[in-house]
């Protein structure tokens, strides 16, 4: 089992190093295939770990330590891996979906003159992500946490001639650094009180304040990583990266790490119930806001990005109310269909010479049927229409909010509205892009790939994911059939009041589906048939297009003041005071020297006078002092 985990972790790292050392001697294709194989090997390792864990009685998992990574006094942190149901599940998702996406990017990145760098980065990302999910203690988790941030930075800024890309990359990294910082602070509290960072210590007893602070710190990290309000603004900009990157990092895996974190550290959250509900609240808020903003986006990838935010909002609600299994399950299905959506979008973009504006893409379905149908599958899964995956994973989350008190109903309402918005913006996208006669732009720019809609390396993963997005949800249909929940039970048992009664389940499912369909219908009416005019409401539209002014707000609160402060310090303090003081002192000294020098008149009599005066002074002093 541990062998599997190590294999899973190290394979991508080896891949990275090979590509790095290979440098320019390595043919591009070779680099690509090294990365791909390494990730698939990792998947193999994950599978190995999974099965060996299944055969373990009660599959509680086990921890392996390579060596002591950091040690001081009695505080000691090993380079540890943990194999338990939660981590294996994540390993499977990350390595599996990751493998498909890397394969996809072989076709997608073909011809880019820095392919090697790309594949090195992406393999490195998979490694970091696996370290994150496999990390056997909080510090290892933080390490992985930071490294995914780093590789996300590298990949967003992959096309580094684009200032926008570089800016987006920096933004993403810094916001995540903020999250890392809050997590670190939480860890400091843990160290101060338990002198350890193993997952076990979370169970220790803390005063409510400590527990709240720790949980808050962790939540800060989770929010930053998962682009939830208030740290959500980096995700849309991150779409500057290559599409496979968006699919892998900003849809399937990294951004959902926040959910994993909460599930992993649920013990402390349960000690700090307020914070946990705060997480749920954040999720609820985000899913609404994101859904609204998605309505007005014109960049195909940004629409999907906002939907990602909103879906993660669902997951937060899920884990926030204590239904960890629900959250994780939605995480999995979401990985399937969101990756699918991004990759189909990628096909479209690829085929249209990197055009991303949906207003130009009308009628694409005519020329790209396969893409069209795959996208449709993903869309339906996203909206949660049975029998697609989203249906099975989203509804339990919504239902689970019903038993936790009055705010539960608020969450419920949000989720339902969110479902409607999901239907609306998803099919707005669909109707704008695929049906109907191809627009002139499409006719002009569409170029197929040897008569196919894309290289086989791109089509195969899309196909596989389409299937998964369709059937991937069937492995759990609460309350009647819930292997995932059972599987996770040893690690993250759902709170009792997060388990809805079957009636609640059924009702919720029906309502959600109907609302979703309603959303689709409206979208059809507005964007396909043009029966209803798009509501004008310019101020509202502007508000949405400005993404509720979050960016401007942060710019105004954080960046501008710090930049101003720095400049002011340099102008007003550093240069005039710190740097000048020494010089001034020196000048004063020299001036004094000039004065002394003036005494040296060169006149003999002056010299004699000084001797006489000196003698007189000494005599006087002595007469007085004697």
């Amino acid at each position: 089992m541990t062998g599997g985990s190590w294999l899973c972790l190290l394979a991508p790292l080896v891949g990275t190093i090979l590509i790095l050392l290979g440098g320019s001697w390595l043919p591009r294709v070779a680099a690509a295939w090294i990365a791909t194989t390494s990730v698939f090997v990792a998947f193999g390792g994950a599978v190995w770990a999974f099965f060996s864990l299944r055969n373990q009685s009660g599959h509680h998992g086990e921890i392996t330590t390579a060596w002591t990574w950091l040690q001081s006094d009695h505080f000691s942190v090993g380079l540890q891996l943990l194999v338990d149901p939660l981590s294996t599940m994540m390993m499977l998702i990350v390595a599996g979906v990751g493998g498909l996406i890397v394969l996809y990017s072989i076709g997608y990145m073909d011809g880019d003159d820095e392919e090697r760098r790309y594949f090195a980065y992406i393999a490195f990302f998979v490694f970091s992500m696996l370290l994150l999910v496999e990390g056997g203690n909080l510090l290892m988790l933080l390490v992985g946490w930071g490294l995914v941030g780093l590789s996300s930075y590298l990949l967003i800024g992959f096309w580094h001639e684009r200032p926008s890309a570089v800016r987006a990359a920096k933004k993403a990294f810094i916001m995540n650094a903020f999250g890392d910082a809050t997590m670190a602070l939480a860890f400091f509290i843990l160290i101060a009180h338990t002198n350890s960072l193993s997952f076990g210590v979370l169970g220790a007893h803390f005063s409510s304040t400590q527990a709240n602070l720790i949980a808050l710190g962790l939540l800060g990290g989770a929010v930053a990583k998962s682009a939830q309000i208030p740290l959500q603004t980096w995700l849309p900009d991150a779409m500057e990266g290559p599409t496979p990157v968006s699919a892998l990092i900003h849809a399937a895996t990294m951004v959902t790490a926040g959910v994993y974190l909460i599930a992993r550290t649920h013990v402390i959250f349960e000690q700090a119930r307020t914070i946990e509900l705060l997480a749920a609240g954040t999720g609820a808020l985000t899913l609404l806001v994101a859904g609204l903003i998605a309505l007005v986006q014109t960049d195909i990838k940004r629409v999907i990005a906002y939907s990602t935010m909103s879906q993660i909002g669902y997951m937060f609600v899920g884990v926030g109310v204590g239904g960890y299994a629900n959250g994780m399950f939605h995480l999995m299905t979401h990985a399937f269909f969101k990756a699918l959506l991004f990759m189909t979008a990628g096909l479209a973009i690829h085929a249209l010479a990197n055009e991303q504006d949906i207003r130009k893409m009308r009628g694409l379905g005519r020329v790209m049927p396969l893409t069209k149908w795959c996208f449709l599958a993903g869309a339906l899964a996203l909206v949660g229409i049975p029998p697609f995956a989203g249906f099975f994973s989203k509804d339990p989350i919504i239902a689970s909010t019903l038993n936790i008190g009055w705010y539960g109903y608020v969450f419920y309402a949000c989720c339902i509205v969110g479902a409607f918005l999901t239907g609306l913006y998803t099919f707005r996208l669909w109707f704008l892009v695929f049906p109907g006669e191809p627009s002139p732009f499409v006719r002009e720019h569409y170029h197929d790939h040897h008569g196919r809609e894309g290289a086989w390396t791109m089509l195969v993963p899309v196909g596989i994911l389409a299937v998964l997005a369709t059937v991937g949800g069937w492995i759990q249909f609460p309350p009647h059939w819930d292997p995932v929940t059972k599987w996770l039970a040893p690690v993250a048992p759902s709170l009792p009041n997060a388990v809805p009664s079957s009636t609640q389940e059924t009702v919720t499912s029906i309502v959600a589906v109907l609302v979703g369909l309603a959303g689709i219908a409206v979208a059809w009416a507005v964007y396909s048939e043009r029966k209803i005019a798009i509501p004008a409401a310019p101020s509202l539209r502007r508000l949405l297009e400005e993404k509720f002014y979050f960016d401007r707000l942060y710019d105004w609160i954080f960046y501008t003041p710090s930049a101003w402060l720095a400049t002011a310090l340099r102008r007003e303090f550093e240069e005039p005071v710190v740097l000048q003081t020494g010089t001034d002192l020196g000048d004063t000294t020299l001036a004094t020297g000039g004065l002394v020098r003036r005494l040296q008149t060169g006149l003999l009599r002056t010299y004699v006078f000084f001797i006489a005066a000196g003698a007189a002074a000494v005599v006087l002093a002595f007469l007085i002092a004697k």
Binding site: H74, V143, A169, L579, G582, T583
Partner: protein, 484 residues
């Protein structure tokens, strides 16, 4: 103890080498080669020393003592502790790299240059090994002399002001320290650091600290820093921030904190405040600095602040983290300055507005700068992350807000380091970046790659230092006992 001769060899071999170089009429290449050879020999001897060092053994090791002038209890007394061992290692490795750089760029007047570099090596090693206050002071001062000439002769356009400023600033501190040393030593009847008693005098403590905070430097005593780092030749700037600055921090640990426990606790808050100020202030200025070296310079100001936080936290984690961070930051800033030198050689400038887009077609440069950059911004998993994590965890136990400030500063660090990286490597190609500006040459790689490799090794196993700096489980206890 066996192998105690190594301590003295490490000090005197390079000095002897310097004299040799000055005496022998060697050719340019012979000179450089000889100097390089000696630096490598230093590294070799250090490895041997580290191999002989017994971490399970308390107290001073491989010590050697000889009479200097006994009537006042002053002697030539050298030896190493765990932490000094690491700093010596940092010195010899860093100096080897920088000497190599000097050789690679072919400094003119090679005999003077290499002689001085070796002299500097010996003096710096001496600082970390001296166990007698006056000897410590002697080496502490001796470091200045070669630095003065190295910067003044081979430095940039405004070198002359910069170097005078640097020397006088530093001397201002260390002369006050001399007064403190005299008072302490005569009161105690010995100048020996090992046998010397602890003192409760606040004035003496301040006298020592002044020297160290200027050397380190700490806000607001860093007036010499920007000019010196900008005007010095890159390899000297590297030595300055990577190695020499550590002497000040080492002094805090070995003398100020160890010998003055009561004043330390009395002034703890003050020093911590200064350190925090240095951390934030340095980070902010680095964030707006207009050039490569400016960023690195102010970032090392910030780093000094951070390390001081760790030292004056007075907690186990703080001490371990501080030592680890000293080494890590040493390697980082040496590499960064050498890379800065490489960039300046290719573009004739370090100004960001004239740079940019160097990543395209220069994979080696891009990879190295990126690697060092992200390590220096303490991306989790890196050696500096380990160091900063320990430091902040340690100072957190003193009071939470120090750690909060530190965490904030780490975000700032990310901001300025990413700014540096993208300003040099990314976005539109700068006006001074021409195609003739090639990628790093093998020679440069041979200098920087080992340093980076060392950093990566430390990143993989920071415990190697953090757990092997002080005897026994608890550094705080070791410090309290005066490393007996």
């Amino acid at each position: 103890m066996s192998a105690s001769y190594l301590t003295s060899i490490l000090i005197w071999l390079p000095i002897a080498g310097a004299v040799l170089i000055w005496l022998l009429p060697l050719s340019r290449y012979a000179t450089g080669a000889l100097a390089l050879l000696i630096s490598f020999a230093e590294v070799g001897f250090w490895i041997k020393q580290a191999a002989h060092f017994d971490f399970s053994q308390p107290g001073l090791q491989m010590s050697g003592q000889a009479n200097w002038f006994g009537e006042l209890g002053v002697s030539y007394h050298v030896g190493v502790y765990g932490f000094s061992l690491w700093l010596v290692g940092l010195t010899v490795v860093g100096m080897a790299a920088c000497t190599g750089y000097g050789f690679w760029v072919g400094r003119d007047r090679p005999r003077a240059y290499f002689g001085l570099m070796l002299l500097l090596t010996g003096a710096t090693v001496g600082v970390f090994e001296a166990q007698d206050l006056l000897l410590f002071y002697a080496f502490f001062e001796a470091m200045l002399i070669p630095l003065y000439i190295l910067i003044g002769v081979w430095g940039g356009a405004r070198r002359s002001e910069a170097t005078i400023k640097f020397v006088i600033y530093t001397m201002a501190g260390s002369l006050i320290m001399l007064a403190a040393i005299i008072v302490y030593g005569l009161k105690a009847g010995t100048f020996d650091l090992v046998d010397g008693p602890t003192s409760a005098s606040r004035w003496l403590f301040l006298g020592f600290m002044l020297a160290f905070v200027i050397k380190a430097p700490l806000f607001p005593f860093h007036g010499w820093l920007p000019d010196a780092y900008r005007e010095a030749p890159p390899e000297i700037a590297a030595v300055l921030s990577g190695v020499i600055a550590k002497a000040g921090l080492y002094g805090m640990l070995r003398i100020a904190i160890t010998k003055f426990p009561d004043p330390t606790s009395y002034y703890r808050t003050t020093v911590l405040a200064l350190a925090a100020a240095a951390l934030v202030y340095g980070s902010l200025l680095a964030f707006r600095a207009p050039d490569f070296r400016g960023v690195v310079a102010y970032s090392s100001l910030a780093q000094s602040g951070l390390i001081t936080l760790g030292l004056f936290a007075g907690t186990d984690l703080g001490f371990d983290g501080a030592v680890l961070q000293m080494v890590a930051h040493g390697l980082i800033s040496i590499s960064l300055f050498l890379i800065a030198g490489a960039v300046e050689r290719r573009t004739t400038t370090g100004e960001f507005r004239l740079l940019g887009g160097m990543a395209r077609g220069r994979p080696a440069l891009a990879t190295l700068l990126m690697t060092v950059g992200v390590i220096s911004l303490a991306v989790p998993g890196s050696a500096s992350f380990a160091g900063e994590f320990l430091i902040l965890a340690g100072v957190f136990q003193r009071h939470w807000w120090w750690a909060a400030i530190g965490a904030g500063a780490i975000v700032l660090a990310a901001m300025y380091m990413l700014r540096l990286i993208s300003a040099v490597l990314h976005e539109a190609r700068g006006s001074t970046v021409s195609d003739s500006a090639l990628d790093l040459r093998p020679g440069e790689l041979a200098l920087v790659v080992p340093l980076v490799a060392g950093l990566l090794f430390l990143s993989a196993w920071p415990a190697g230092i953090s757990d092997h700096s002080f005897f026994g489980p608890s550094p705080a206890a070791a410090v309290k006992s005066g490393f007996k």
